[in-house]
Subunit: 220 residues, 8 copies
Amino acid sequence: RRIGMPEAVYCQSKTVQEILAILKHHRDTSNEAVLLTRCNNDVVGAVSKLYESMTHPLYVFPGLEIEADYRTIVVGTPTKIDAKVGVLTAGTSDLRVAHECMGTLFALGIHGEIYADVGVAHVDRVLEILPRLEDFDVIVVVAGMEGALASVVGGLVSQPVVAVPTSAGYGSSFDGLTALLAMTATCAQGVSVMGIDNGFGAACAAFRVVKRYTSRAKRL
Amino acid sequence: RRIGMPEAVYCQSKTVQEILAILKHHRDTSNEAVLLTRCNNDVVGAVSKLYESMTHPLYVFPGLEIEADYRTIVVGTPTKIDAKVGVLTAGTSDLRVAHECMGTLFALGIHGEIYADVGVAHVDRVLEILPRLEDFDVIVVVAGMEGALASVVGGLVSQPVVAVPTSAGYGSSFDGLTALLAMTATCAQGVSVMGIDNGFGAACAAFRVVKRYTSRAKRL
Amino acid sequence: RRIGMPEAVYCQSKTVQEILAILKHHRDTSNEAVLLTRCNNDVVGAVSKLYESMTHPLYVFPGLEIEADYRTIVVGTPTKIDAKVGVLTAGTSDLRVAHECMGTLFALGIHGEIYADVGVAHVDRVLEILPRLEDFDVIVVVAGMEGALASVVGGLVSQPVVAVPTSAGYGSSFDGLTALLAMTATCAQGVSVMGIDNGFGAACAAFRVVKRYTSRAKRL
Amino acid sequence: RRIGMPEAVYCQSKTVQEILAILKHHRDTSNEAVLLTRCNNDVVGAVSKLYESMTHPLYVFPGLEIEADYRTIVVGTPTKIDAKVGVLTAGTSDLRVAHECMGTLFALGIHGEIYADVGVAHVDRVLEILPRLEDFDVIVVVAGMEGALASVVGGLVSQPVVAVPTSAGYGSSFDGLTALLAMTATCAQGVSVMGIDNGFGAACAAFRVVKRYTSRAKRL
Amino acid sequence: RRIGMPEAVYCQSKTVQEILAILKHHRDTSNEAVLLTRCNNDVVGAVSKLYESMTHPLYVFPGLEIEADYRTIVVGTPTKIDAKVGVLTAGTSDLRVAHECMGTLFALGIHGEIYADVGVAHVDRVLEILPRLEDFDVIVVVAGMEGALASVVGGLVSQPVVAVPTSAGYGSSFDGLTALLAMTATCAQGVSVMGIDNGFGAACAAFRVVKRYTSRAKRL
Amino acid sequence: RRIGMPEAVYCQSKTVQEILAILKHHRDTSNEAVLLTRCNNDVVGAVSKLYESMTHPLYVFPGLEIEADYRTIVVGTPTKIDAKVGVLTAGTSDLRVAHECMGTLFALGIHGEIYADVGVAHVDRVLEILPRLEDFDVIVVVAGMEGALASVVGGLVSQPVVAVPTSAGYGSSFDGLTALLAMTATCAQGVSVMGIDNGFGAACAAFRVVKRYTSRAKRL
Amino acid sequence: RRIGMPEAVYCQSKTVQEILAILKHHRDTSNEAVLLTRCNNDVVGAVSKLYESMTHPLYVFPGLEIEADYRTIVVGTPTKIDAKVGVLTAGTSDLRVAHECMGTLFALGIHGEIYADVGVAHVDRVLEILPRLEDFDVIVVVAGMEGALASVVGGLVSQPVVAVPTSAGYGSSFDGLTALLAMTATCAQGVSVMGIDNGFGAACAAFRVVKRYTSRAKRL
Amino acid sequence: RRIGMPEAVYCQSKTVQEILAILKHHRDTSNEAVLLTRCNNDVVGAVSKLYESMTHPLYVFPGLEIEADYRTIVVGTPTKIDAKVGVLTAGTSDLRVAHECMGTLFALGIHGEIYADVGVAHVDRVLEILPRLEDFDVIVVVAGMEGALASVVGGLVSQPVVAVPTSAGYGSSFDGLTALLAMTATCAQGVSVMGIDNGFGAACAAFRVVKRYTSRAKRL
Ligand SMILES: Nc1ncnc2c1ncn2[C@@H]1O[C@H](COP(=O)(O)O)[C@@H](O)[C@H]1O
Ligand SMILES: Nc1ncnc2c1ncn2[C@@H]1O[C@H](COP(=O)(O)O)[C@@H](O)[C@H]1O
Ligand SMILES: Nc1ncnc2c1ncn2[C@@H]1O[C@H](COP(=O)(O)O)[C@@H](O)[C@H]1O
Ligand SMILES: Nc1ncnc2c1ncn2[C@@H]1O[C@H](COP(=O)(O)O)[C@@H](O)[C@H]1O
Ligand SMILES: [Mg+2]
Ligand SMILES: [Mg+2]
Ligand SMILES: [Mg+2]
Ligand SMILES: [Mg+2]
Ligand SMILES: [Mg+2]
Ligand SMILES: [Mg+2]
Ligand SMILES: [Mg+2]
Ligand SMILES: [Mg+2]
């Protein structure tokens, strides 16, 4: 894996049997952490059971207590990187994508923090959290509907901003197409965009940035 | 004209001869003001010449000195209404639509004011002008690209907000489609939207609102 | 909440637990009415039960007896405003969006009236109700398919007209896209448009208009 | 030509030379009338010159005096059919498509009549002309923007209604796509639709209808 | 009902209770036949039961024995018209739309005949049935996928051709959009198009044509 | 060039200077033929002049006498392959794409033959030429508007059929999108599709097929 | 069946009864193999049972042990052709389309081989299998999301390449539209494209190619 | 300018007079460099003349000798940053966007290098330059048509990859929409996307990344 990212399994279109087979094969051949995205309850249950009797740690996002069919599992403990990523969401329906991003950041060894429901219809919320954003190396903006949060945040911070359009919403949101077009048409300078609902990809984009920091720092 | 709006001539797809004929016919049959939208230089020249030797006043937006193919002419002096409308634009390329709106407001007897280039990539500009917006009975937001200004303004003011998507921009703006979709998907409550580049329509929407104020006030 | 609209909870993508938590928190911190939109039977049941033993009034639109997954609940009694809004629908399938609008108007203290099934394929129906429309401060037109009702009404009345495209229909209605495009391309002057199925937003747009009436009236 | 329609030459993408060659060949091999659509000034000039010295009659729509790049020429005198078609347009910009339809009707031997600028933003105009529409065997409705005229007319008359969406307009009309979708989603019963700007096709559709009348009448 | 078509109830988005209420009201106020489209099994069952003990005849298309959620019911016996309509389908999946058309034709008193599965991938099938098509006053072509049957039939017959795009198929058929665009772009002269899956509308379009025949014939 | 196709220069977005530079460089480094597509008159003139004084043969499609901005030039004499390709067009406006295909076939050493204007609105034209199609190893179908010719031909011949949608036409053809969607939704078995207007690509697809014949034949 | 392909039944929109009826009719009238595509478990069960007591062989793809609603059945033993087709998939979710292609190839007598999960995000995987691709007469590339595998393979091999876009994926894949557009816009020379998810069609396209080989070979 | 990027003027929709006015105002109020993008020859001429007699340096991309209407001008000398960005283009038509990116990088003080025409139809070209890519802190991939280069590069390098879809190409490229959708659907992990033709934005995105490096490095 030349580009240095851990094994990731996209579980949405796989059966529990297929997923367990992949995990068993991984266990036999590698010591690295594994990331499983888009896990429903059955997958979470089966994977938890597989590792129950083992010493391998298991992390589930957004937490075991919540029922959801869009969770992220990390098997094994990732090596930490000295980097922080802020994940902002416009509404509460964008949270499942934000949590996929958080789970992936964890698998990549990056510290992530969520700031939820700071959509631009109440622009003071963004302004309030602005000072706290300075700490982050990368800022991920997750938003559905018209996705305007990406433009506002992009104009307020100087770090890399990665925007993730979501399929949240109804009607004129057209399953994320509206937010996708709006975000790629943003008038904020240098905001780049991931595919619809691709919280995983946003975390990987952040990883590329912070990994380069590290390798540059080493050169010093 | 049951709904009380003055005669309006859309000049884009008409020849100079056709337009002059309409104006001459109007002069013979009515005392009301006439509005001509989307006039190019030829139209402005010919109409100016027609009224040169007459006592009828003639107003051209955005002013005679500028060369543009998207100007608005008002022939005759409209009756003033006690109402003010603020017209905000996200970028300078949205100005031609804002000027069409201003010209139409003038023809409808409404005082209009433009606040240009207050796009959300620099959200402080909107915040700065906020106090001055309180005076307006209706606020028109003209924006192309991702059209995020409508969402931000809609969350900051309590008056009616009419959003006009524009075809300004390139690439991902898709001739205004992106802004149109984004504005109709806005998460700001109660922002309503006009067709792409329809500055004329936004002024008419404002006119509907302020006319109702007047008729209600009369009832008191 | 600078813009003066009451708390509104969009329930479609929330669990019953989340909704009850929001309501309990609201009860402890505010005296204002709360609006819940897009409630299914479970939500209606749980919310009714929560308030059963309390003195707080509870209103459900379009009435408790009907089974539907698209209902609006208002908790508490809103302060009335001296304003009337007419809500016209083209077909019977547009009613659920019209009812969302009615429920929201109620929550905003505005008197609403529905005129259903007056679609333009039988233009006499619109002409018949025309005299009754004069009373309304704002007219909301809810229509799916080709959405032509907005154009016809816009040409017949002088008040503000807010058009709501709906996803009702099949085939060429493309989940509301056809009505959305058609309404924003209307040749009726000054008709403005909400997002697809956004009956809530139409009520808020009307609220913006009538609130401005009140504040203007006060200035007199 | 099994289906009984005269030779038609679509001139938009052909050179003057190609068109003259087709006409000369036709002259040598047939006595029937020929129809040339989408002719610009050069084509009109060259074809007029070709027939100048001949006894063949030549008809140009919408008349030789007007400069336009969208005219229809009929060479030869078509055999008249006992049938009348009404052609309604919503706006003045739809006229060029209506004239293509008129020219084609003439070539097919059918009497056509235009009723221009009766768009639904002023629904009384349609209601006014309603009595005169009873005479027509087929009614063609030509409209751009939101194309609502087709729905209104379809609900008012009992004859076959053929709707032609046009690319007239700007912005939200999306070069006729909006009108095309809206017309095929019409809630008026049994209104059928042609391709965008296809005035030629609408006349042919009318021809199919009236030809069948004739052949049925013969059977009596 | 100025345009002379019988009462039609679109049942897809209505509850059984609502439908029975409409029928009872109709029974008390009219002697005419009623048409119910898009009926599922529950609707067919309930309506059959309602009329069981009555002398009113009841017709169900495509026949009571088949389980389908897209059936047409006619209550009462329509007055026959001297007219025949041929309904061609490209594939077997287009049959449900063809049957809706057949049921509606029946309700309108017109004799309809289906020719199924004559799609252009086997053009000999169309050529084979060609002689039998001459009898029909109108030909309805029902096709999904690329909808090419409309073009081929349009070039082979001289009668009015009404094309109905269907949402049958998968992938590149995009729920009927492909067939809709293709049919309106047909190079066959004078073929007109209905909305996607609108078999009801195609029958109404045919009714408009044949009704005009009758009224013309009377004038003779 | 591992895949064995000759050098091809797409000239549409290149200046004459850039094209001449490429040709000079090629002349110095290779003996193979070069193909230039989408050449306007200036390019044809300049390239002709460059080779005037040389012994290198020069071929221009569709012939030097015709003025067109979409011509194909072949410099050098390609090695012939024992293969024949038939190129069918639906209308005369599709010819420029067909000629691009013919020029490219020539550059690839393949014998091509055009059958123009055999569109399905007159299906007998296709049936007439059917016997002559048997000779061809591959059949290319070039069609705009609704592109139905591909489906008909695909059902009549057993050879590989490559369909090329064109941007010819107006209105509902949407610059080739309609034909592209229709062709990929064809119900004819095993017809494959190139990009819009890509006559060059269709020739290359044919080349891949016939080259494989040759290499297989060698194995025998 | 002039074009020489075996009977194929598309089972997705047919009932088990309809399918059994087709098979029984086929058994009585023909000796050829039959292909059934898009079979769910019920269909597989019923067809298996029908042939249980018979001597007719029955093949199910991708194997009886797997539960899937997208399987291919071949009844009877097809005559083998001397040809090989390689079927590459970008991801594991593309496998169901690849298996449809494999089943169809089998029914056509062609040997097929799958190379799964060689998507371009890891371009070495494609490079690794490159030598093994030389054996194949046709290469089918099955890919969803952005479909880039078609471009890479098209640039590496000289055989005919048939690309099949799939609806696999989520968000920006837009049910296969993205891959469809991308594949038809490929910059690899001569790659042709099937409809979305049309694995059946890709096999038929390959069959057309290899059948022509055979008939050419015979001529030698 | 809180986010630290220099003044940038988008010149496409501005007159020469407007641009000169902006520059003169800037000269009087600031010492920083100014960036002008999308300059045509007139703008380049006028701006060169303005600075001719001054000591201010002036840089034009892609060089003064070339005639193009899409050039970038930098006035003043930017402060260098210790960072390198590689800009890859798929084809030669993508160069104008790549040059906009290069000009912007220069204005931001970043060293940029172009690798042109390395599109995936010849994947060896990308593989060849791979070792040289390691030096870059960020890699920008500029590609039109199907945009597959972004996926391939994203799978080969570990740095941040910013993809820019271009409107280069014709037909199925749909003015960049195809590349935009394809790039946001990429299966390469963590590749982020800019708007169509937004070479400026890609440079800004790179600037955000490298600026963060610097501020992090300072913290050490
Ligand atoms: N949530 C996700 N969104 C997008 N891509 C993902 C996601 N999770 C995993 N992937 C990608 O999918 C690949 C595995 O897909 P597959 O080969 O189909 O199992 C991983 O290597 C990742 O690149
Ligand atoms: N700039 C404009 N945008 C949209 N509609 C306009 C504009 N100017 C005028 N109109 C409308 O077009 C009508 C005149 O159209 P016409 O009869 O074609 O001149 C007016 O009554 C207005 O309703
Ligand atoms: N204005 C028009 N719009 C649509 N189709 C037309 C038009 N004029 C002619 N046609 C059709 O185009 C055919 C001639 O095309 P062509 O052979 O290219 O000249 C005629 O037979 C008609 O079917
Ligand atoms: N299957 C159908 N497709 C399209 N329109 C229909 C259909 N069935 C009924 N209609 C129309 O819908 C109207 C009844 O709508 P509703 O009032 O909602 O029952 C009828 O008058 C018809 O115009
Ligand atoms: Mg919120
Ligand atoms: Mg600005
Ligand atoms: Mg109704
Ligand atoms: Mg008008
Ligand atoms: Mg069939
Ligand atoms: Mg022709
Ligand atoms: Mg994979
Ligand atoms: Mg190249």
